[in-house]
């Protein structure tokens, strides 16, 4: 199967949500030791939901497209909703199947977002069960 579908290439060429956030609540760095790719995520939270998200970093088309799509998806999501995101969600966004090695590329951003959530400022009480 050709994993380089037009949508993936489009996100790779013109990734969404790139850049930095000066006022980020959380800055999370991720590293893929297999290929040396680095990813930095910037998030702000309002009412326990992701208000803004940006990312910086270099990577292959799969990792860039996955990060671009995933950062689109999590905007406005609650911490709990984000925690529940899985590998399958990322593959569904990408619309392809991947072998074990390329899966690591695809999942770097999910891993980063999960780590970021753990560090996010404590939620206000009304959102705990959201």
């Amino acid at each position: 199967m050709n994993i380089y579908q037009e949508e993936i290439l489009e996100h790779y060429r013109h990734p969404h949500n790139t850049g930095q956030l000066e006022h980020a609540d959380v800055v999370q760095q991720e590293y893929n030791p297999f290929c040396g790719d680095k990813l930095t995520l910037y998030l702000t939270f309002v009412d326990n939901k992701v208000a803004e998200v940006r990312f910086m970093g270099e990577g292959c088309a799969i990792s860039q497209a996955a990060t671009s799509m995933l950062t689109d998806k999590i905007a406005g999501m609650t911490r709990k909703q984000i925690q529940q995101l899985t590998k399958e969600d990322v593959l569904q966004l990408l619309g392809i199947e991947l072998g074990p090695t390329r899966l690591k590329c695809a999942l770097l951003s999910l891993q980063g977002i999960h780590h970021a959530i753990q560090q996010a400022p404590t939620p206000t009480s009304k959102d705990v069960t959201a």
Binding site: Y4, C35, G36, I62, R102
Partner: protein, 404 residues
Amino acid sequence: MERILTKKIQQDFPLLQRGVAYLDNASTTQKPQAVLDAMNAYYTECCANVHRGIYAISEDASARFEAVRDQVQQFIGAGHREEIIFTSGTTASLNMIARMLGATCSAGDEIILTEMEHHANLIPWQIVARERGLKLQFLRAREDGEIYAEDLQALCTPRTKIFALTHLSNASGYRTPLAELTRLAHEQHLLVVVDAAQSVPHIPINVAELDIDFLTFSAHKMCGPTGVGVLYGKKALLERLEPAFGGGHMIAHVTLEGSTWAELPMKLEPGTPNIAGIIGFGAALTYLSQIGMQAIEQHIHQLHTDALKKLTALPGIRILGPKDHSTITGILSFAVNGIHPHDIASVLDNEGVAVRAGHHCAQPLMTAWGVSATTRASFYFYNTEEDVNRFIAAIQKTQQLFLP
């Protein structure tokens, strides 16, 4: 161009029948049927431990096993058979020699490595350096990407004891000026440890002529099975070193309080070795010798030259490593403008071309090059011009896909 070796040779390799253009030979090579048969024959005809049984099948196994030691001795031009120590691979050999030599050093002694070492020839030295308070110094490549003997001289101090270096860089294919470096290191009374994991499979090597003190390589990069490697050491040196690992088979006399060691090579081969693997390695050496290392070197050189010419004719290609491409053999490490190595390798895979993308276990070198990863094509004697052409066509296809 007339080819030294022809496509017919591929018939000896079951996996190559699948039609893949296998260009990841620096990682591991394919195995000819003869190697698989030799290992199978051990298991079906003489499966017994070596050097223990007084019964016929054990003696048969021991004879097949020890014959490989003679073959290795011949293959690398060692003076004595007991200078050949079997290990599980280059990594194990380098860890072992680092431990054994490290034990002879005192705090403050210095070890020189190059900046282009595989992690297997870096981390073991970092570990002993930390344990024993030794200092690591690094011989760096100059602007042109090459290493110079004068720079080694400049790094030497009265405390320098060891110089460990690669003969052929797996990340770039650069062939270090080993003879000159060894001569200079010996003038400075250093012991020379050579990581020959990439060179022994590609180039005829004579350790006695080169006057190398210790040399390491892996069977699996030269048509042999995985899990087998060699540590060559000059007999007088190996005799002086204390073993790094103890166990059965390596002792002369044992009491509860202490033990004495067996003679070489047993002293450095504790436990049951990879008998089937070593016997398979023997078959690989026979196979390579029949083709001839000179022919192998020339064929790889032809393919490499051809691939280099065709690759550099494409737009946006940067060859990593020394600027003078005549110092590179067998390996092409490159960057394609605007395309990540992973994506290149994925598209190539789709086209039936196997290459490696990554840091090639040489992260400090990637840092020096200012990249996080490269794409690497590496050739062996069974590769053909057709493999090269498929590789080039697949790179063009990748460029079309990513750079419209």
